[in-house]
């Protein structure tokens, strides 16, 4: 199973490489033929995300495989200090793999050696088509020329050299970078998909945010967190609907639930479960003091029709209309038709108030309740298999996972992976994929793939 997913990953990588080779061929014809590809650093899984200029090391999947291979292949764009010798700590390189002369079987085969060899070959091919060696020589020459202390004695010549060098680097960044970046994104996406192999990962989900203690401060923070997820989900092309939202008295929200619909919504969002902490100068404090606020995030998968759902007895339910004051009926005309459903045996409740009819509020609340009960049941079963037991709150709300600091410095840091960025604004605008990816890869490494 595990071997299979590695193979399929490499297989996709092989396909996207082929695509790139085709592209590269086109732009050689356009005479923009400057790309550097080399084998570079060995990047271990946990460092992937800290290594912005690397070509994503898909082949890291090979590490820890039953053959005991531990290596990675790096394709790296090189700067003007260009020609770093292709090498990897374990000695395996593109050239090395090619030298092994592993048989390249059909793409449909699940043989990782074939895929690795095919990829290595493709990389070689790309280099050849881009006349890589000549380029390398040319750039080295130009760099050396520019490094000469007396080059500017002849300004005309120096200008020419530096212009050629510059345009070469410029094109390199623009054109070839694009192709490589696309490939990198592609393979990163594939890499992620391989992380999302859990049974419920492909499901849609509910995301719930609940304000921690601390009144308006925390409610405002909870609202920011919810907004972050709405934007994240929209940017990923998921459907987003608000199911339940309980506004705070002064600002923010006490709690809210959104439904995120689309493939792998749960797989990604589950990485966000836990308590999120904010440090900032409070906009609500006239004394302008620093405040710390908390918001808890829970993520619940919405199982497909095929999955086994917990059976709910009608008689176990109490359906309440809330915030319905007074005599009701003909006496009252309100657009408020919020419904709360209580599952009496477990005490689990679900609320919905954002639909325009009571009937639909009830249906939505019922869907949330069903998913909660399913999740509870899954947790219960998992617990029976696991030695240690977690409390229910721990299962649904988790521990503190991330800190967002807006003052005195600016940073968002994940406590589980130590992944951090210095631009909280972009994170709060939904740029969460870095955090999610790093958490997912880290948690998978913990599981220990090779063993």
């Amino acid at each position: 199973m595990k071997m299979f997913s590695q193979s399929s990953l490499l297989f996709h990588f092989r396909q996207s490489l082929r695509h790139t080779i085709r592209n590269v061929a086109t732009f050689s014809k356009l005479n923009t033929k400057y790309v550097f590809i080399g084998a570079g650093h060995n990047v271990t899984a946990e460092r992937v995300n800290e290594f912005p200029s690397c070509f994503s090391p898909t082949l890291k999947w090979l590490s820890g495989s039953s053959q005991g291979l531990a290596h990675s292949i790096q394709c790296r764009l090189l700067g003007s200090q260009a020609a770093i010798e292709p090498s990897a700590s374990d000695g395996l390189t593109v050239e090395g793999i090619i030298a092994n002369r592993w048989t390249i079987l059909d793409e449909t085969e699940g043989d990782w050696k074939s895929h690795a060899a095919a990829i290595a070959q493709s990389i070689q091919l790309i280099k050849r088509r881009l006349q890589w060696k000549q380029l390398l020589v040319r750039v080295e020459l130009l760099s050396a020329e520019l490094d000469k202390p007396d080059i500017w004695d002849d300004p005309v010549h120096a200008g020419k050299v530096s212009r050629e060098h510059g345009s070469l680097m410029g094109k390199l960044k623009e054109e070839s970078m694009k192709s490589l970046a696309r490939m990198r994104r592609d393979s990163k996406e594939k890499e992620l998909r391989a992380l999302l192999a859990g049974e419920q990962d492909s499901c849609s989900c509910f995301i719930e945010v609940q304000a921690g203690a601390g009144g308006t401060e925390s409610m405002d923070w909870a609202k920011m967190v919810m907004q972050m997820y709405k934007m994240w989900a929209q940017q990923r092309g998921y459907g987003v609907t608000v199911v339940d939202e309980m506004p705070g008295e002064i600002a923010g929200i006490k709690r809210a639930t959104i439904k995120v619909e689309g493939e792998y919504a749960f797989g990604y969002a589950k990485a966000e479960v836990g308590v999120h902490r904010l440090v900032r100068i409070s906009p609500f404090d006239s004394g302008k003091r620093r405040h710390t606020s908390f918001a808890a995030v829970a993520v619940i998968p919405i199982l497909g029709d095929g999955a086994s759902h917990v059976q709910i007895n009608e008689s176990d339910l109490r359906i309440e209309r809330f915030r319905a004051g007074g005599a009701g009926g003909q006496h009252v005309n309100t657009t408020e038709s919020a419904v709360r459903i209580v599952h009496i045996p477990t005490g689990i409740t679900a609320t919905c108030q954002n639909e325009r009819s009571q009937h639909q509020n009830r249906a939505s609340a019922m869907a949330v309740l069903q998913s909660r009960l399913n999740q509870l049941e899954m947790a219960r079963q998992a617990q029976m298999n696991a030695e240690h037991t977690k409390s229910l709150t721990e299962i649904s709300w988790g521990n503190q996972i991330r800190t967002y600091v807006l003052h005195p410095y600016r940073m968002v840091k994940d406590l589980r992976t130590n992944y951090e960025v210095s631009d909280p604004d972009s994170v709060l605008e939904g740029d969460l994929d870095g955090f999610i990816l790093s958490y997912l890869s880290a948690s998978l490494d913990q599981v220990g793939y090779g063993s």
Binding site: A324, G329, N333, T335, R356
Partner: protein, 388 residues
């Protein structure tokens, strides 16, 4: 098979043929000027063509103005007459935009539009300002603003002169559904909805009945009859649901004794309570739909009294359900039905709504009763067969 045969056998004089007669009546009635040509149903906002175009920034300006207006209300309406608070009004504002803007999902997304981008809407900017002013300053109900009410899984057209269906009323359909799923007698029989208003109950019930099931709905108010007919058409139920203008049972004369079920939400508010209700109700909804006489029981009592003669095998087989004001009226009706109309209604009970208020009085027979009758009827059929 046998069941549907039986249902028809029991309402033999109410064959699909005579029902068709009603549909035709309805159609011809429609052409009569009295109902349709003077007053026309208003098209709900969300169904109107998006022929107006605004810049996104103009729309935003309006939205900000409307939001501020909503926020300025705070809890003042609530404190004054249990009207809406600003949270609710802001939610209504979003729904108004949802109905008025063609591509609401893009428009409402943060960064979804540029300020000079054109947005297609179903009313012009002036009317948008006007509508929201009416909502806040005149307390015109939101549902009249947008010309519709979401009720159960339906979107019903409503307008001034027609009661806006209430969430509590949804539950009557659940009670009817319980009967219908278990029993073909109810599924294939003739139902009546008295004082249908927007047609809410009639339409929802019409959608759960079987091929032979029909609903006749009546209302005294011509506007209601017209809007109900319009809603029936929108849900393409003309073959199943017939709307008749007239007082309570009066338009049902020729189906006397043939109904398997009867539902009604008649006016039940005591006359002198009405002016104290929230402004949305007291100033804007039709008095005819609310005023139940001195103690609110006038129409309820009338309906219960007459129900027994309208229902088929009343008491043992058919069902009657009505909504009330709350516990007191429920109790009164139960006593009335059991003692004064004793013998006619055997299974009278009170059901509470989701807010816990005793709301419904229903007399729904047990399934066994149908089984005994079924046996009897089958024997009769057998008897006829042997005669043949």
């Amino acid at each position: 098979m046998k069941l549907s045969l039986l249902a028809r056998a029991c309402c033999s004089s109410m064959s699909p043929v005579s029902l068709r007669k009603y549909s035709q009546n309805q159609v011809s009635q429609h052409r009569r000027p009295m109902i349709s040509s003077q007053i026309k149903p208003q098209i709900p906002l969300f169904l109107r063509p998006p022929i107006y175009s605004l810049t996104f920034s103009d729309l935003q300006k309006w939205q900000n103005w409307a939001k501020t207006l909503a926020s300025s209300v705070g809890s003042s309406f609530q404190d004054f007459d249990h009207g809406p608070d600003s949270t609710l009004l802001r939610r209504e504002l979003n729904w108004l935009m949802e109905d008025a803007i063609e591509d609401y999902s893009t428009t409402s997304r943060p960064g979804g539009c540029e300020s000079r981008q054109k947005v297609k809407v179903r009313v012009d900017l002036e009317e948008l300002y006007g509508l929201w002013k009416q909502r806040i300053e005149e307390r015109r109900p939101f549902q009249y603003l947008v010309g519709c009410e979401h009720w159960r899984d339906l979107v019903l057209s409503v307008q001034e002169g027609v009661l806006i269906p209430r969430p509590e009323t949804e539950m009557i359909v659940d009670l009817v559904c319980e009967l219908v799923v278990e029993n073909d007698w109810f599924k294939q029989g003739l139902w009546a909805d008295l004082g249908t208003g927007s047609g809410a109950l009639a339409i929802a019930i019409g959608r759960v009945l079987g091929d032979y099931g029909r609903v006749i709905a009546t209302d005294l108010s011509p506007v209601s009859a017209m809007v109900a007919s319009y809603n029936v058409q929108r849900y393409e139920l003309q073959d199943k649901v017939v709307i008749k203008q007239g007082s309570w049972f009066e338009p049902l004369k020729n189906v006397e004794g043939q109904l398997v079920g009867l539902v009604s939400n008649p006016p039940y508010i005591p006359s002198d309570h009405i002016c104290g209700l929230q402004a949305e109700v007291s100033k804007h909804e039709p008095r005819l739909a609310l005023d139940g006489g001195l103690n609110g029981l006038d129409d309820l009592v009338h309906l219960c009294y007459r129900a027994s003669s309208m229902l088929l095998c009343v008491g043992s087989l058919s069902s009657a359900t009505t909504i009330t004001n709350g516990e007191e009226q429920c109790q009164f009706l139960v006593n009335y039905m059991k003692s004064d109309l004793g013998g006619n209604f055997c299974y009278v009970k009170i059901v509470s709504d989701f807010a816990g208020i005793p709301r419904f009085v229903t007399d729904s027979p047990r399934a066994e009763n149908h089984n005994t009758v079924k046996d009897g009827a089958l024997k009769t059929i057998d008897h006829f067969l042997t005669l043949l």
